[in-house]
Symmetry: C2
């Protein structure tokens, strides 16, 4: 199951980035499960990684290599089918060995390669099969490889996610293209997801990191499928400089806002794509909380709703169960919450106010509001002027089936 | 589905308490859905209530009446089928009207009656039907009514929960009997549960409140079924004084520890009974965290495991998925957690150490450890000497079915 349109949009090449997707047989013979991305010399790469204390071996090595290459890696290598997580010292050595295979095939230093893995936790990585597939990947690098790469990084996802945005600034044309994967174990602070974005702009390394962090905070960190967070998450943003602009070095330049907006647009599209393809998802739900005193309290309310299994099973049933919504709002921990000032809307139908069902509300209105695949739950706290939104999916039989059967 | 033995133990009468369970037709005609408890004059009653900001009308009224009766109410009235929550001012009036019906039938003040409701949120209480059933309840009050009351308070529960403990102290015989309901929306800080305990001891009101609070903290506040908390939770402890002891007035008296232990034993039995009957439960899971620096960090780790949908679906599948356990431990937010010092056991089988699968571990051992209905997950943090345990259940198709269909 997945919600909404299935079609991958056209993914525009980013001059300076070439990609190849080949089969290494990591978990399933014949599956195209290995993606190599080549970054033109001089490209800057920013990255954000999982906050899980049990971070996977490739995350440790990718962080280290990003630092050792001074933010200018030459290759990104991603395998699916195996997360190389919970694999201890051996896992670290295996991640390094994969980087060495790329180094041997291309002549760069192993520290110029960032490794990424996703899939089953706790199995040893089949390094030999991955290494054997690397030379074939190097031979097949191409600028138009984004769509195949979007397929190659998937695990339990049912469809690829990608987005491109073009814009012009001061007479130059720019592009931002991104792909992402992740369908479960998704919640704030970088859940099981991998995201790769690139632009042809030339951008100072520190500024690039700031643009990525800001965009991730309001996109990937605003989604929740099941409240779990993963050991392997990573999102990178590459700036190749192939556009030929003088390096963006200040947030005051016109290019800064234009680029940051484009990166944000791509990140939001990818994040919403992850939720629409959430494990077992049959609804795409936007939870908007308005009228809060602070962004934190708006997010507390929004995520409490988004994480509630009772709300999520009601969404699966298309049941306008406003009682479960009120119960979730009430336990979100907002200090001095006056429940009598709160309004709750389902797709613009006022369902609850003054601490109870709205006088104007009818069950028919609620049923009609819950019928579409896309649902907006809006909570008006009426105590301030801050707002925040998160996106989530419902909780279905299929969610249980997928996660009960995943390893078997 | 439910886990373990189905038989309600013998529930011993508590001199000074009489109970009646009758049918008011709140939601289903003929269902015995109304429970009246009468407390002998002079009884003290302690209570703890939900922390949800959207607390239900009966909770508001029960708190107020407990205070107005100086902790000495004469009657407790409980209906199932309707939670009288999210019903605003009308709900408050309805809860008061139910108290007045008891007052009219018995001659006590309405403020000497505590109302309790459980069931669907957001529907108006059928006060007329409840009021009409009260006189019949008054006529049927009896000391041996505990087992019928344990049935009468249920909602989605599949079986009644009750426990009795007897003990002697300084030549007198004492009894503590309790019943509880609740099968979903259960997590720390008083989830959807109602609990009623009584003892024949005479106990000072403040001391009684302390005994109840302590017992609730390590029983009902240590269980989680789905991470949701309710608007209606309440647990009361009545001390009738029928044993004839001089009123217990100090924690230094021998009776204090004996009584507190008995209350704790009953609360733990009831709390575990709630988990065993958790919505869709097929496993009863104890999560023990040892070797922590503080109780808080042990509980953070234990509840992160207990709330994880990925761990819970793996438990449903009897899948020894230690990778998901490590991922949950890693995101529990424990500061400076050294993952290489952690050991994880499934029913005494060491499955993970040094941040990865234990060298001694075999998949066969894991499968064997996961086969029983009762599972102990033990996490050894090896950084201090504090421990804490919580109890939870798994996440099954039936959980989704029950909660997707509940209102229809």
């Amino acid at each position: 199951m997945a919600v909404g349109e299935d079609k991958l949009p056209e993914l525009l090449p980013v001059p300076g980035v070439r990609l190849a997707t080949v089969s290494a047989g990591v978990k399933t013979a014949g599956r195209r499960d290995l993606v190599l991305m080549e970054l033109a010399p001089g490209s800057h790469c920013a990255g954000v990684f999982t906050g899980n204390a049990f971070c996977a071996a490739p995350v440790t090595v990718a962080r280290e290599h990003l630092s050792r290459s001074a933010g200018q890696p030459a290759y990104l290598l991603t395998n699916t089918g195996n997360a190389n997580a919970g694999t201890g010292e051996r896992g670290i050595a295996d991640a390094r060995a994969c980087c060495e295979a790329v180094a041997a095939a291309t002549g760069v230093a192993a520290s110029a390669v960032l490794p990424f893995s996703t899939g089953v936790i706790g199995e040893l990585l089949p390094v030999d099969r991955i290494s054997a597939a690397v030379p074939g990947a190097v031979d097949n690098l191409a600028e138009d490889g984004w769509a195949a790469a979007a397929e190659g990084i998937l695990t339990t996802d049912t469809r690829p996610k990608g987005a491109s945005v073009q814009f012009s600034c001061e007479g130059r044309d720019y592009v931002v293209t991104g792909i992402a994967k992740g369908a479960g174990m998704i919640r704030p602070n970088m859940a099981t997801m991998l995201g790769y974005l690139a632009t042809n702009a030339a951008v100072d390394a520190a500024l690039l990191q700031g643009i990525l962090r800001e965009a991730v905070d309001i996109s990937f960190n605003r989604i929740s499928i099941d409240g779990d967070t993963s050991t392997n998450d990573a999102c990178v943003l590459v700036a190749t400089g192939a556009a030929g602009n003088s390096e963006l070095a200040s947030a005051d330049e016109p290019l800064y806002r234009a680029l940051a907006d484009a990166v944000e647009e791509v990140c939001v599209a990818l994040a919403q794509g992850l939720v629409r393809d959430g494990e077992g998802a049959s609804k795409f739900v936007t939870v908007e909380v308005k009228g809060g005193v602070s962004e934190d309290e708006c997010l507390d309310v929004a995520f409490t709703i988004a994480h509630s299994p009772l709300v999520k099973t009601a969404l699966f049933a298309s049941d306008p169960n406003w009682g479960r919504l009120l119960a979730a709002i009430g336990r979100a921990g907002v200090p001095d919450l006056d429940v009598n000032r709160i309004g709750v809307y389902l797709n613009e139908v006022l369902i609850a106010e003054n601490g109870c069902r709205a006088a104007s509300y009818t069950e028919e209105q609620g049923v009609a509001a819950m019928a579409p695949e896309d649902i907006v739950i809006r909570v008006e706290l009426n105590r301030g002027d801050v707002s925040a939104s998160v996106w989530t999916s419902d909780f279905s039989y299929d969610y249980v089936r997928i996660n009960a059967e995943y390893r078997t």
